[in-house]
């Protein structure tokens, strides 16, 4: 019997006695089964269960689950991600698809022939943009930072003893042309990294995210450096699509007033003839209201180059009272990233931010001993 070496989902190696080839031979998993569990949809916490037939096969980074608090599941070989939570993003996607399908079936033909084909094409383009940007915002890496990069001392058994006191301080550093109103960096005791400014630890994802704006339950994903642009344009195109969903059926319902030879003579008759038009108008208002308000809010935030988190924590204040944005003093928040030009701020957030490489490439082969995928307990200031 040959011993078999397998890589567990937490990255550690396990050596087990191999089974005799005559009586306990493990049947190889069918290709379709392996395809579904190891590439199409991968839950890292269940990865070792589906890897037993090829124990020595190299694992990919996305198949490693350091500890139970990590809640990600991956699709298409680690290229898409989501959280193991209520799939509200699926509901959001379905809510986005329903009005488009109804429009194409019941309204598009009338709009194409009675008003203009361009309106149908423009609506379709906005809707496709909106949906693809929604998918991109929902399943792409928001800017998750690698863990365990800045562990200060040696550690044993996944625990760092005698953490330095300095690592529990908030550090103020000078900013560009501002030696008095600087930026702050703070050590994340969970991820064991010194967080750059505007980086925050998301309690839902249990990860630090670069330029963290907020965790969106409708996307089931954080909104951060790498997908904020797509989130903003998703909001805008969703609102524009909603306008089309409301306005075009509205015109359809009241078109009888513009045509003398119409067989329809009242609004009630028009609604009876075209019930889906009324449905779309109501649907558009109900489902477009929240994205519209959110879009207005983010237009304001991006014009000031401030994140949702910063606004709620510092500008609006945790006690519910608004504080002055430019209030000086020990508890005044100064947004040093505001370029003082609304157009520049808008440009940076809506278009300017270049795409960065993902800090952790999930589709790469997992390297034994890679500490980024190992569980290390949070730093503590004192021994209990």
């Amino acid at each position: 019997m040959q011993p078999q070496t397998s890589v567990l989902s937490n990255g550690e190696t396990q050596v087990t006695q191999g089974s005799s080839s005559t009586s306990f031979e493990t049947k190889p998993m069918p290709f379709i089964h392996r395809f579904i569990t190891n590439w199409l949809i991968t839950d890292p916490s269940l990865s070792e269960k589906y890897h037993h037939d090829v124990p020595s096969q190299a694992k990919k980074n996305y198949q490693i689950q350091p500890h139970e608090e990590m809640k990600f599941i991956y699709f298409f070989g680690g290229r898409w991600r989501s959280l193991k939570q209520k799939p509200i993003n699926l509901v959001t996607g379905v809510l986005a698809i329903i009005p488009a399908v109804i429009f194409w079936i019941f309204e598009s033909s009338w709009v194409w022939h009675q008003i203009s084909p361009s309106l149908v094409i423009i609506f379709t383009y906005f809707w496709v943009l909106s949906f693809t940007l929604f998918v991109r915002s929902s399943v792409s890496d928001p800017g998750v930072l690698p863990r365990n990069i800045h562990i200060p001392v040696s550690f044993k058994q996944s625990k760092v003893d005698h953490a330095p006191d300095e690592y529990f301080n908030t550090i103020a550093l000078p900013y560009y042309k501002s030696e008095y109103d600087g930026v702050t960096v703070k050590y994340c005791t969970t991820c064991h990294i010194w967080r750059p400014p505007r980086t925050s630890h998301c309690g839902v994802c249990n990860s630090c995210c670069s330029n963290h704006d907020h965790h969106c339950i409708f996307l089931n994903n954080c909104v951060g450096y790498r997908n904020y642009k797509y989130f903003l344009w998703f909001l805008l195109t969703a609102v524009l699509s909603s306008f089309f969903i409301i306005i075009l059926p509205f015109i359809h319902l009241f078109h009888y007033k513009l045509v003398a030879s119409s067989e329809i003579h009242s609004i009630h008759q028009s609604i009876r003839e075209n019930p889906m038009s009324l449905f779309l108008i109501i649907y558009g208002f109900l489902c477009g209201a929240y994205p519209f308000l959110l879009l207005c809010f983010h237009l304001f935030l991006t014009a000031c180059n401030i994140t949702t988190r910063e606004y709620l924590n510092y500008v609006h204040g945790s006690n519910g009272q608004a504080t002055s944005k430019h209030k000086q003093g020990s508890d005044g928040f100064i947004n040093v990233f505001d370029t003082r030009s609304a157009w520049k701020n808008l440009y940076i957030n809506w278009l300017g931010r270049p795409t960065r490489l993902a800090a952790v490439k999930l589709s790469e082969d997992f390297q034994q001993g890679d500490l980024r995928f190992k569980k290390v307990y949070p730093l503590e200031t004192f021994e209990v």
Partner: protein
Amino acid sequence: MTANINDPNTKYAHKPEPQETPTKDKLLFFNYHEFLTSDYKSNQSITTDTSLVVNHFPNNYEAKESLQHSSTRIVRIPRVYDTNRYSDVIPQFSVHVPGKEPAALTGSSSEADQGYEVSGVFDDNWFGLTSLTPLVPGWLSVEEFTAIVTRINQLLYDALNPFDYRNAFQSVLDVMSGGTLSLLVNPYSKKKLLELESYIDTDVNVKLAEKCKGLKVIPLRQSGYLSLDFQVPRPHQ
């Protein structure tokens, strides 16, 4: 003069002192990765209130059981935020020689002139009493270090400048394609970042390996662009 609410003369005569504008201290840059410890074993007669400066760290980029992990350490060059306005978008690293930052612990002038010298053991490793690290001038000269960090900063700026016309143009096309263009074609920023990785791997590390086998720059992608890490041989007494 305290106000007496029952005496109108004092109550209305009382003038509150003008609120003093809180004065702010000028912020100075320092390497926030380093920390002090007084729990160490010394090789000299050092007073108990002198702390050791821990400014090199375990090489956790190598497997714990490996020889590289036990024979090398990491010197971390921190990020700076005062060299360009868009420091939240464009990572930049400190070009100050490690240990010569504005708020670094330099000790006495004689200690500063001596360069890096170990004085005590903490966590089974030797450290000194100042912020100076074994990297400069032990393994790299000031000029070599500055050249490497400056070039890396320049490549990062070229790659991630939001006002670069190439980034702007590709961003517009990416949005118009619903975010699919950047999946199909590597954007300009990613190409420059891969060029940076290649510069570190083929240019810098090859030259450093000629100096010493254990000397290298950790690829920035591996450190998440959070710090510029230099791997150095483990300091000895």
